[in-house]
Symmetry: C2
């Protein structure tokens, strides 16, 4: 493929032109047609499972030779069970409500003009991701469900798996009557192709990076195309003085330790200086095996804590580590979050509703929670059916982004010959 | 001021930090407080009108010396009547519905978690504009009404006018109890300050350029901050074979000639080859003094037309000139628009509702119209009360953008101690 397309910019230009043509067809596809295409894609994945697993074995073998970590190999691995889950997830996206065509508002002016704002697909999405081959299916399904053409650029570790999954999905999509170019996979692993996607203003309408911080940082730094993403999830839990201690202990342990590697995991614990049971909170974390990096005041409560340094307050551990400090009250807690937070998810635990209301109003994050675990920061848990990711930017879509975030709108105006005076 | 701030990046960093602090206050300001601040700003403009007009006289004098065109001097000029209109416009923004706090959706999950999506201000807006001093007041009023802090960078021709208007508005805002830093005017005319604003990712949340194409193009090319704008308004009117000729003539003349310099003006006329009265359409335009640059087929209809060249189909004239050609039908018309349009406003004239429905669904523009003049492309005409501009991008806000487009949202989650299984 690289021989045919020596210049990645030319390759991406060709792919985006085909994607735009497909997007014009997809924008007019009915809800039923898009759902049928996804069901056919899921069926094709199931039918081709042996071939996909064989392709994945090639990637696993190459990965082992290349010395990938056990964690990376686990992310890469597909087996019957995991592939069935991927296909099931596509079926679940197929039955989600189609936002396209929804009338957001409708107004009739005194002169008789009728203005309607109607949801439409965004157009062409670029998905740039790393080693998890299931993203190939997930991202394609969500993009297509909302009527978008999708250009996928997966990681080189998963190249055989991604090609096999992509091929199967496209066969289903075509069988269901939608264009093959609805979902395209960048055929080269040349990293310059990523740069070409990031510069494709007007040809790609939105880029969604799925992967680790270095990938997201590169995409955000280089992109001239709008990016939907979050860089960090430095999420705080503030335990107010009027928090219920049993609730506080349970939420902290869950928010930090349920899964430490997800972006909704808590990374910093702020304990009010008047909270009655701070030692129990620290002990609850320590007893789950969590390292607690504490300020001096908290270190005195438990010799098992270690000393936090300045960098800890700005660190997303994604591990069994938490930073913790005492704060003088609600305002100091909110100031800490304003200085160190990443606008992802922050929570307060309190039985004082007025204090909670201030926290929810004043903390400037995509998701703010009262008496709940930050690990609920997830589109599925929000009832959105699925998510393409969580966004911490301020425009377009924030927090968990599902199908609606993959649409935009246009204004339709109906007149009877009106001319403007 | 430039002596105090030799480095524009440092100046902008200081201004954006103050703006962010003001934005935190504004985000919590009530509807009544924001309305009162705008009324006080309008009152202050009226009270200071003599001083503002005197400041404007300095700009007019300098402009005349510098050889500004009559059109530019007219844009620059303020007199009692124009200043009264500026103040009245602020009062009109003051009484618009406040979108902040609107609950966009609310969902209760089976586990008892309540998720609400609530409108909030975007934060810090940067407005970059040219010679019209009224933009100082308009943009500040709209930004503030939606709870945003605003950083204004006006054109050097209007520097005295802008400073006088800004000073009066801030005195009103402060008198009403909102922070002075809610509306800041960049004190230097150093063009590097514009570059610093465009690079201020995370410090300025959205840039809105207001002015001619070269300004918008520079902003779009250089900005690392999201931009809300349109570059061109290459708007088409397709006269279908089943159009009513009297309606078609009236709409074309209005869409082209009512005001030729606005972005909603029609620039290209596509006439169906089976439309019965094309010569009347061309004649109607010619008789208003419009130059018609036509393809060969249309040129044969009227010797007063001139020949269009390739560039004409991609030109926004903003003048008494229109390009015109015959097309073979709906599909050819839509293909022409897809190739040459700017995704701003395109219209069809027809009595065939099925044809109109296809045009409205398939033409990929922010505004698509049926049997109405493209000159209605305006937030006021859409019933939005006012507009900060018209956007042709695909994300966040499209078409006429008013207060809602100057907001974003956050997710508020209320629990009773839920932890994620």
């Amino acid at each position: 493929m690289t021989a045919e397309h020596p210049i990645p910019d030319q390759l991406i230009a060709e792919m985006t032109a085909k994607a735009r043509a497909a997007a014009r067809v997809l924008a007019l596809a009915t809800d039923a047609a898009k759902a049928a295409a996804l069901k056919a894609a899921a069926a094709a994945l199931r039918q081709e499972s042996q071939g996909i697993i064989a392709a994945n074995a090639l990637d696993m073998e190459a990965g082992a030779k290349a010395g990938l970590s056990a964690a990376m190999l686990d992310r890469l691995k597909l087996d019957e069970g995991r592939l069935a889950a991927v296909a099931d997830a596509i079926d679940q996206v197929a039955v989600l409500d189609d936002p396209v065509g929804d009338v957001i508002d409708s107004r009739t002016q005194p002169n008789g003009l009728v203005m309607r704002r109607v949801r439409i697909p965004i157009g062409v999405l670029g998905i740039i991701y790393e080693s998890r081959p299931n993203v190939t299916a997930d991202a394609a399904a969500l993009g297509l469900r909302a009527g978008n053409a999708v250009i996928l650029r997966g990681g080189s570790e998963a190249v055989h798996s991604n090609r096999a999954i992509h091929k199967a999905m496209v066969s289903g999509i075509v069988e269901a009557g939608l264009p093959a170019d609805a979902v395209q996979l960048v055929p080269t692993q040349d990293r310059a192709a990523v740069g070409a996607m990031l510069r494709a203003q007007g040809a790609i309408d939105m880029i969604i990076p799925r992967g680790g911080k270095s990938l997201v940082a590169r995409v955000q730094d280089e992109a001239r195309v709008p990016v939907l993403a979050h860089l960090d999830g430095i999420n705080h839990i503030y335990v107010h003085k009027d928090a219920d201690p049993a609730m506080a202990n349970a939420i902290i342990v869950n928010a930090k330790m349920r899964r430490t590697g997800i972006c909704g995991a808590a990374e910093t614990l702020l304990i009010d200086q008047d909270y009655p049971a701070p030692a129990d909170l620290i002990a609850a974390l320590l007893e789950t095996g969590c390292e607690v990096r504490a300020d001096e005041a908290l270190m005195e409560l438990d010799p098992r804590t270690v000393s936090a340094d300045d960098a800890d307050w700005d660190t997303e551990y994604l591990d069994s580590v938490i930073s913790a400090c005492l704060v003088g009250g609600l305002d100091e807690a909110m100031d800490h979050i304003a200085r160190h937070g990443s606008h992802h998810t922050d929570a307060i635990i309190t039985n004082d509703d007025a204090v909670a209301a201030r926290f929810l109003a004043e903390v400037d994050s995509a998701i703010v929670m009262h008496n709940a675990s930050t690990q609920y920061a997830d589109g599925g848990e929000f009832g959105l059916g699925a998510e393409i990711g969580i966004a911490t930017g301020r425009l377009h879509a924030r927090g968990p982004v599902a199908l609606e975030g993959l649409t935009t709108y246009k204004w339709l105006v109906h007149g009877q010959g009106q001319t403007r005076p």
